[in-house]
């Protein structure tokens, strides 16, 4: 690639993993720790080459557990940090995703989903990790998960993921799939100065008064980093505003865990993003995310051509779940069609939001994702 | 190693022709033995063709006489009845050899140490005993055979024990001659007494200034390995081939120490410095004095707070930039192979606190001459200012009291310590130098200013106004208020009483043998005189040699001396050791085993008991091989052999039996037959003689090299021939000169006791005594104890014993 040390700008033909990596750099990520795994490996490979050019750190750890731990460490040491993996590695990372949530460490975890369970189908796409994204680590917590459907979005949403993680102090999950990861497309990258970059809030009190987990009104505490002289303590144990363990106080537990959920759910309106296509007069709406949304779109177009008033609601934010958006649309339509590359995960959230509106679920596993015709078929049946 | 050739009896040309010489040794022997009668008696003994008595047989005329007689009277055996063979056997053997007579055809009867000196007041009994001793010697002589001596190589390395000026000099001389030297010093630094003295007489040189360069030479010399804070723990082997073990006590500080002293500064422990006789303080980590060699500091673990591996205090470790401190250093044992040993262990100073009338230890202003040396020394606690302890003031009037612990049968030692007079004179002048108007009194018995330049110094002192008063004070009293001292006594020149008031009194203490010299004596099988100093092989002719081959003396270990004499003797000792090592080989006495293959049943007992593994068993040919060079010559194998297939040359069964028979021919029932080993009990008996310890004259000593040589049949034969009692004596277990041969002795005696008890014989009649060369008293006491036993033995008991042991009379 030409123009070393310069951020990539302009139009390029890239694959999704590379676009993601470039997005990370563009977002100001300067630390990557990971472990090779198909189909996410290209992200690591690309960053191992690019990170040094920006004075950033690339390290391959001994496993995904360590990678996630290292990412949290780097984050606390003041860097924007990320790791990338796929299902099996994502499972291993859950332990420390929980730690990142508990210690409110801003960072990004990319999961290029493949077929599971277990080792499953490394080279084939899937959407089987979306529930793990929400509930993968033990305990209650709010999380943010984004779902790109194109190489362009792999770039854009990676930047977005960092901005959200810095804003809300938590790990943000980018839930791509094998197809967006390995697909080659044209990507247009705006000039560096036009890319929005958010940095974590810093404390504005003298170090003596600093309490590392004392939230502002937005429920997010300002974050000091190691070496800045604040001498603060952070712990995976339930803790008070000072970060000191409170292992036997239910008050402390309630206060902390509620806030960890609330800072996300309470800010859902600011966080959630969806794409709405031809919804104004729609009788049938297809709700989809990731690569499946692209087949859905063409299915909707075909339906319109065939005189069916179909529309598309594409979920860009998976978590927090775009409940309002689904509910509003559900009121005005006869039915909802939901294709997913799993045995039915996010569809349950859709059903919950859609209330009485019937939801037709179209499940697909393995090599080939949904075709427009398959989705069109369901749309027809739903009329 | 050459194998011993099989033994074929050398046909003796003609009948034995024995010449006997009874020595008067001035009055030493003649004083309590009628030598004339003894020689007359000798003339009547078989094979004796000539017997005479003369005043000093060891004198040149004496020796010439013997040589002449050998030629004129065709003597083929010579017996001298005089002092201990440990003293003069070599002299007479040499004389014989000069006259062409093989030296193994000479025999000695010890009628001085073992007779005249121990029976001073019973001329008749002493004379009778002397006759017996001569008779035994003659009997053995008749059976003596010529022998050739084997040669053993000498290791060209030397061990010097003691790092005082004598040891330093000896080590340097040997190393400069080109021999590897190990210098072992038990203190943390070499330097010894001389390092503690301020000035030397008569030249008044600064002592440490002239010693320090020599000390550092030792430290740097390629040829010298310095082992300080170490003690010799084991000595094995013999002349030319000693194996030494040295215990190296840990210093807890490694060689990396730069002697910067930062460690001592932070050490919380404060203690009196032994080097300054406690007049100055030191810390738990310290260097005894500025010029110490090695300069490496040392931790006194008795004082250090860090015990049993718990490092409570690490102040010194932290202060040490070179990281040289190791609290967990462990003792090590160095193993050395040397050919010669120089003993330079020095002397102690007399402790005057045993003399109540001088108040030392109670009266602050009474100090010893050694303490004075530290006081007047610029490197000492008062930086050379003569202060009196009570009030740290410079004394105006000082008294020196001479002969404290010397030349007194009541208080301390009988002998003169040689150095105290001149040391006091030197000290008095030192005071006059710095504080000319100090009044100085010296109370003396005699002033002995015998050496070169000594008299001049004495004159100078008197000129300088030092008052010499003949007559020691009878007591020293203190004025409680001023702590001044009142000395009262008699001025024996003016024969008038004096009562003199001084500010400070210095006790001129004598020198005495080291507390630990008995240990050195045991390790090296040496002898000491009654004063406890090591005994030289000959006071005139071999003044620096020990009786034990390959060992030499230097400095005060052998007797009190000043620096000059110590250095002289050290160089002499070095030269003597050098001569041995230059030769590179030494002949060993022909006292190795003789095997009779025809009798040997290859049972292997001898192989088992040999302490040197010098015998190998050749099962195939049912025979044994004796490796002569490896043989130590104890004769245990000969004693052990049940078939008489082994004997020890020059101590053959026949020879020993002939001695037994000779003693038991008459009045056996009144006599004790004693077997003494050459190194310990025989030397012990000699010491009893040298010390004039009196004991009953009923004992007859037969010398063997080792008690291990004493076969059961010898004891049995003595009883079978009606002896009242038998004594088997040797070195203490563990101190055996032949490694462990005396354990066999113990086994045999126990067997005999069993046999005696089984046959209703009193076991008291057979005594087993361990006595070292230093234990003359122990030996004498045992003989005294035996008197009643001997007297109580009834004729019936004698007869019974004869029966029980009659088998022993059959000589195979």
């Amino acid at each position: 690639m030409s123009g070393k040390r310069a951020l990539l700008t302009g139009a390029h033909f890239l694959n999704g993993d590379v676009a993601c990596a470039e997005g990370a750099i563009a977002a100001g990520c300067r630390f990557f720790a990971g472990y090779p795994i198909t189909p996410a490996t290209e992200i690591a490979e690309h960053l191992s080459q690019r990170m040094p050019e920006f004075g950033g750190i690339y390290i391959q750890m001994e496993d995904e557990i360590a990678s996630m731990a290292a990412v949290i460490g780097a984050s606390y040491a003041g860097l924007k940090a990320m790791t990338a993996t796929s299902g099996p590695g994502f499972s291993l990372m859950q332990e420390n995703i929980g730690l990142a949530v508990m210690t409110e460490a801003p960072c990004v975890v990319v999961d290029i989903m493949r077929g599971g369970p277990s080792t499953g189908q490394p080279t084939l796409p899937g959407q089987q990790d979306v529930m793990q994204a929400k509930y993968g680590s033990h305990g209650d917590y709010g999380i943010i998960a984004l779902s790109p459907c194109s190489v362009q979005e792999m770039f854009n949403l990676t930047v977005e993921a960092f901005n959200l993680s810095e804003t809300y102090r938590l790990p943000v999950l980018l839930m791509g799939d094998e197809i967006v990861g390995h697909m080659w497309e044209k990507v247009v990258i705006p000039p560096a100065d036009q890319i929005k970059r958010v940095n974590r809030k810093k404390p504005n009190v003298p170090r003596e008064q600093y309490a590392p987990f004392m939230p502002d009104d937005d429920l997010v505490p300002p974050m000091a980093c190691f070496g800045e002289g604040y001498h603060f303590h952070a712990s995976g144990l339930t803790h008070d505003e000072n970060g000191y363990p409170r292992t036997s106080s239910s008050a402390a537990q309630t206060k902390l865990v509620r806030r960890l959920c609330e800072k996300i759910n309470g800010n859902a309106d600011k966080i959630v993003k969806v794409e709405q296509v031809m919804l104004d007069d729609a009788d049938i709406v297809v709700v989809a995310y990731g690569i499946v949304a692209r087949a859905a779109l063409s299915a909707v177009r075909k339906a319109r051509a065939a005189g069916i008033k179909a529309g598309l609601l594409r979920l860009i934010t998976l978590w927090p779940f775009p409940e309002k958006q689904v509910a509003t649309i559900a009121k005005n339509v006869k039915g909802i069609v939901m294709p997913e590359m799993n045995c039915g995960q996010l569809v349950r959230e859709v059903e919950r939001a859609a209330k009485q509106t019937p939801v037709a679920f179209l499940s697909k596993l393995g090599e080939d994702p949904h075709t427009p015709m398959e989705i069109l078929e369901v749309i027809r049946r739903s009329c | 190693m050459a194998e011993k050739k099989e033994y074929e009896p050398k046909p003796i040309a003609e009948e034995p022709r024995i010449g006997v010489y009874v020595c008067h040794c001035g009055l030493n022997i003649a004083g309590s033995v009628d030598c004339g009668e003894v020689s007359k008696f000798a003339a009547t003994l078989p094979h004796v063709v000539l017997a005479q008595d003369n005043r000093y047989t060891c004198s040149d005329q004496g020796q010439e006489g013997i040589k002449k007689d050998i030629k004129e009277h065709k003597l083929n055996r010579v017996v001298v009845a005089s002092c201990s063979p440990r003293l003069h056997e070599p002299t007479f053997r040499k004389a014989c050899e000069d006259a062409g007579l093989n030296k193994y055809l000479f025999e000695m009867a010890n009628i001085r140490e073992h007779c005249s000196w121990v029976h001073l007041y019973d001329r008749q009994a002493a004379t009778e005993k002397a006759k017996d001793l001569v008779k035994m010697a003659v009997a053995k002589a008749a059976l003596l055979e010529p022998a050739e001596e084997a040669e053993v190589p000498i290791t060209r390395r030397a061990l010097v024990i003691g790092g005082g000026v004598a040891g330093i000099q000896a080590a340097l001389d040997l190393a400069d001659t080109g021999y590897q030297v190990y210098l072992v010093e038990k203190e943390p630094s070499i330097g010894g007494m001389m390092a503690r003295i301020d000035k030397t007489f008569p030249t008044m040189d600064c002592s440490i200034c002239i010693l320090a360069p020599k000390m550092s030479d030792v430290g740097h010399h390629q040829g010298i390995e310095l082992l300080t804070n170490s003690e010799v723990s084991e000595v094995k082997g013999y002349i030319g081939n000693f194996s030494i073990k040295v215990l190296r006590k840990p210093r807890y500080v490694t060689k990396d120490c730069s002697a910067c002293g930062e460690c001592a500064k932070v050490c919380p422990i404060v203690a009196p410095n032994e080097f300054d006789v406690g007049l100055a303080i030191r810390h738990a980590i310290y260097s005894p004095f500025a010029q110490a060699v090695p300069a490496t500091y040392i931790i006194d673990m008795n004082l250090c707070l860090n015990k049993e591996g718990v490092v409570a205090c690490d102040k010194c470790m932290k202060a040490c930039e070179r990281k040289a401190i190791q609290y967990e250093m462990k003792p090590e044992t160095a193993e050395l192979e040397v050919g010669t040993i120089i003993v330079a262990t020095g002397a102690d100073v007399f402790d005057p606190s045993v003399l109540p009338n001088y108040g030392y230890g109670k009266l602050p202003n009474v100090i010893t001459s050694l303490e004075f040396e530290r006081l007047i020394n610029a490197g000492g606690p008062s930086h050379g200012h003569l202060l009196r302890p009570s009030d740290m003031q410079i004394p105006k009037r000082v008294a020196f009291v001479q002969c404290v612990g010397s030349r007194s049968d009541r208080q301390g030692r009988l002998y003169c310590s040689n150095v105290c007079c001149m040391n006091t004179i030197k000290d008095s002048l030192l005071i006059k130098e710095h504080w000319p108007d100090t009044e100085i009194y010296v109370f003396y018995v005699d002033i002995r200013a015998y050496g070169k330049g000594f008299e001049d110094l004495y004159k100078r002192a008197r000129k300088a106004g030092v008052k010499f008063i003949r007559g020691l004070p009878s007591e020293i009293r203190e004025d409680k208020r001023t702590h001044n001292l009142w000395l009262t006594g008699e001025n024996t020149l003016q024969s008038e009483l004096y009562r003199i008031n001084v500010d400070m009194a210095i006790l001129s203490v004598g020198l005495e043998s080291r507390k630990d010299s008995e240990m050195i004596q045991r390790l090296l099988t040496l002898s000491r005189n009654q004063d406890g100093f090591f005994l030289e092989a000959h006071p005139k002719l071999r003044p620096v040699d020990a009786a034990t081959g390959g060992i030499f003396f230097a400095g005060c270990a052998e007797g009190p001396k000043d620096i000059k004499d110590s250095v002289t003797q050290a160089s002499a000792a070095a030269a003597r050791a050098g001569i041995l090592m230059a030769k590179g080989k030494v002949t060993v006495e022909a006292i190795t085993p003789i095997a009779f293959p025809d009798k040997c049943k290859a049972c292997g007992l001898c192989v088992k008991v040999c302490p040197y593994n010098a015998i190998t068993l050749d099962k195939a040919n049912k025979r044994i091989n004796v490796v002569e060079a490896a043989c130590g010559g104890c004769g245990t194998c000969a004693a052990e052999c049940p078939f008489g297939a082994l004997t020890q040359s020059h101590f053959t069964d026949e020879q020993i039996i002939s001695q037994i028979d000779a003693v038991t021919e008459h009045d056996a029932d009144k006599k004790i037959i004693a077997f003494c080993c050459n190194w310990c009990s025989y030397a012990g008996a000699d010491l009893a003689g040298v010390s004039r310890m009196q004991y009953p004259p009923n004992i007859r000593i037969i010398r063997t090299m080792c008690s291990g040589r004493v076969a059961q049949k010898f004891v049995e034969r003595a009883f079978a021939r009606g002896a009242a009692a038998v004594m088997v004596t040797g070195c203490h277990l563990g101190d055996c000169h032949y490694i462990n041969a005396n354990y066999q002795t113990q086994k045999r005696v126990e067997k005999l006791w069993k046999k005696m008890e089984e046959n209703g014989l009193r076991r008291e009649r057979l005594q087993l005594l361990w006595a070292s060369a230093a234990e003359g008293e122990r030996f004498a006491n045992k003989v005294r104890e035996m008197k009643p036993v001997v007297e109580s033995v009834t004729p019936e008991e004698i007869e019974k014993a004869k029966k029980v042991f009659e088998k022993a009379l059959r000589v195979d």
Partner: protein, 94 residues
């Protein structure tokens, strides 16, 4: 060197032996007894009083024996004891 030492060092006074001031934070003590056991000068013993944690803290037998090695401070798991050099010593004298 075998001479028996009879006189006190003359320069004994020249070196100043620092005096210790031992501080016990009794209520922090958990009573492990390490200070008592390992003090090379045996300055401490168990006291009879019961502290806030219900254990017997050490008490000082003889502070003057302390040589300020501060091992008690170093080995105390509970930061309940420390030793400083007594400053006011000189003033007391004069």
């Amino acid at each position: 060197m075998p001479e028996r030492i009879k006189h006190a060092p003359l320069d004994g006074k020249t070196i100043r032996q620092p005096k210790a001031e031992i501080h016990l934070i009794k209520d922090q003590c958990k009573g492990c007894g390490y200070c008592i056991e390992f003090c090379p000068k045996k300055v401490f013993e168990e006291s009879n009083e019961i502290n806030a944690r219900g254990v017997r803290p050490p008490k000082i037998i003889d502070e003057s024996k302390c040589l300020l090695c501060s091992f008690c401070t170093a080995v105390c798991p509970d930061f309940a004891i420390y030793v400083v050099e007594r400053k006011n010593e000189e003033k007391n004298k004069t």
